[in-house]
Point group: C2
Chain length 155, copies 2
């Protein structure tokens, strides 16, 4: 598949770094999803699993913020993971509105497999890209994010 997007003389004036970035993001999701398919997880589910494994029981709103998706969507993600017995909802003793999403034993085992998959994939993705280059990439993107947020606020 994918004969696309690294082309001849295209790149209209406004299809430049930004659209390269968009295309790359699409591929990131695609690559992770492809590898995680063996575990019957998508990137969002795997992220959630990883998060609660590492940081412990977490409210859905916090999860939403950290994973960068809406509170509504987190609910259904948790629903599915819960249905598979990978996480469980515990009442928060301090706030009866919130569910604390916690990892289960089965979830912990799967999360370990996710970690393996992730490490392998990350290693592949680093191929031919030096450490400083990766750091530079991260730095520029962070800066770009700041600019994007300003631009959005200014709209």
């Amino acid at each position: 598949m994918s004969s696309l997007t690294t082309h001849e003389l295209d790149a209209p004036p406004w299809q430049r770094v930004e659209s390269t970035l968009m295309a790359t993001a699409r591929l990131v999701r695609e690559a992770f999803d492809a590898r995680l398919a063996a575990l019957d997880l998508n990137l969002t589910q795997a992220s959630l699993l990883g998060y609660v494994t590492e940081f412990g029981a977490t409210s859905q709103t916090r999860l939403a913020d950290h994973l960068g998706i809406g509170r509504a969507q987190i609910g259904s993600v948790v629903d599915r993971l819960q249905a598979r017995g990978l996480v469980e909802r515990q009442p928060d003793p301090n706030d009866r509105r919130v569910w604390l999403v916690a990892i289960t034993e089965a979830g912990r085992e799967l999360a370990a497999q996710v970690n393996d998959v992730d490490e392998v994939l990350r290693a592949e993705l680093r191929h031919g890209i030096g450490r400083e280059e990766r750091q530079a990439l991260a730095w520029v993107m962070t800066r770009l994010q700041q600019n994007l947020r300003s631009a959005i606020d200014r709209s």
Copy 2:
């Protein structure tokens, strides 16, 4: 909006450059969409408009490849732009299966406005990021795309 994603001590092991990239991509779309909302266009529509303005009448399959979305989706995008009189479908004299999507006069005018919006936004996004940094970013992302494609094919 957006109190999110530039955090304290999070970043689980597998939420690193990749997820920064994903978050940035989301913001790119959000920023462009916010600016283009004044023209009642989203990023995809604007991209299509810009493409046919610059490269002339184009088959839908080519458009799909260049914009990085599926052929099915391109159809509905064209439908809407056509309904607004911004593009038109011309039969291809050489192949009766294909529609050549061409810009209209109204479309050309709107595309010019898109260009203005785009230039302004791009200038804002460049703020604090040097030319070499942008080029480095583009290079690393291109390399990353190659690795991603290999990883996907290998899955």
